[in-house]
Symmetry: C2
Subunit: 216 residues, 2 copies
């Protein structure tokens, strides 16, 4: 029988579960601050508006099992979540496209809480190559392959204009990047083993504004 | 028969369609730059990896109909998309939570291209109330109701720590905000007529890192 308690990262946890994990962590830290030491899936479910059986299944994915009557120990849950989400290990990322959005992300100190380190930025604009944005050096895209290897970077962040998104993704894949965080509006075409997450703020805005107009 | 060509905003267009519209606009602008004047749904589908019938349906939602042989006029499509996405009309938004993430969003000039104007920011931290972040004044959350009314703000952006997300949303709703752009990890509980879009970067990172670990 597999020792789930020692296995910090289970393979291919369903996306909906992964999406909920940061919320559980925030919630449990708050309960701990309030003085709680134990909690039940019923209570978590009530407060987060989730079905308690779903909560139990989600927590089982990270190796957490509750005890009858006492429930789950909050410190242990927090520890398992932090370990599972890898917040205390550092993943190196590279960012391509040091324009408005890229600089904005480079300036966001919050990523370090999640163990994400944007170690280098790249651009084609000669005027900013060689400069630094919030301490992160901006290099020429031509240096991407060797820098990715040197940094052992696994995540590539795309913040280039739409016209350059696909070729940027292609260069990243050739450079050994395995996971792409795509902030462009372009639907990237990539090999099957490359992981992609899309962050499309233009799309979110389109939904917000259309639904607002529909109400008028 | 309804005159769809004059109706810039159709009620409740499906979310997947809305999500694709910014991509169509970027793509068509590129094709125009390359010198094209007309385009077919087949071509759009090939380039964007979409089923051409889906493209035709999406464009029908914004009142665009192609002609046999010539297809769609690109300028007209661009015009209809810009009108539908309301990029040339301004929507006022307020932002609550002028911390790291909030300041980052306030500093993103790109929003103005989408017609989004973050007109005011709010916080509870007395040390930053009264200051300005990139030209946007930071006010006390207590002033939110009257400022929302004065600005006719329809969108509320939530960038507060998780512990305060729900109460922030409640105050926004009471202040007349109809659409919430939620950057927190909290699942907000809101009246049915309030529109919500969630932008959960912590969740995206969780997926990227889990899938990376699953590959090892």
């Amino acid at each position: 029988m597999t020792d789930n308690k020692n296995k910090a990262t289970e393979r291919n946890v369903p996306k909906p579960t992964l999406f909920r994990l940061p919320s559980y962590l925030d919630y449990l830290r708050r309960k701990k601050d309030e003085g709680s030491s134990h909690i039940s899936t019923t209570k978590i479910g009530e407060d987060l508006k989730l079905y308690h059986v779903q909560v139990r299944k989600d927590l089982a994915h990270i190796g957490a099992v509750g005890k009858p009557k006492t429930g789950y120990e909050i410190d242990s849950l927090i520890e398992k979540l932090v370990a599972f989400l890898e917040y205390e290990s550092v993943t190196n990322a590279v960012l391509v496209g040091a324009g408005q959005l890229g600089k904005t992300l480079l300036g966001f100190d919050g990523f370090s809480e999640y163990g994400l380190n944007i170690a280098a930025a790249f651009d084609t604009n000669k005027e900013i190559i060689g400069s630094s944005v919030k301490g992160t050096p901006v290099m020429s895209v031509e240096e991407l392959p060797q820098i990715c290897e040197k940094l052992n970077a696994s995540i590539g962040i795309i913040t280039v204009p739409p016209a350059y998104a696909q070729e940027t993704a292609d260069v990243m894949v050739k450079s050994g990047i395995k996971a792409i965080w795509n902030f462009s509006t372009v639907h990237l075409v990539l090999p099957d083993d490359i992981i992609v997450q899309n962050e499309n703020m233009a799309a979110s805005l389109a939904v917000l504004r259309n639904r607002l107009s529909a109400q008028k």
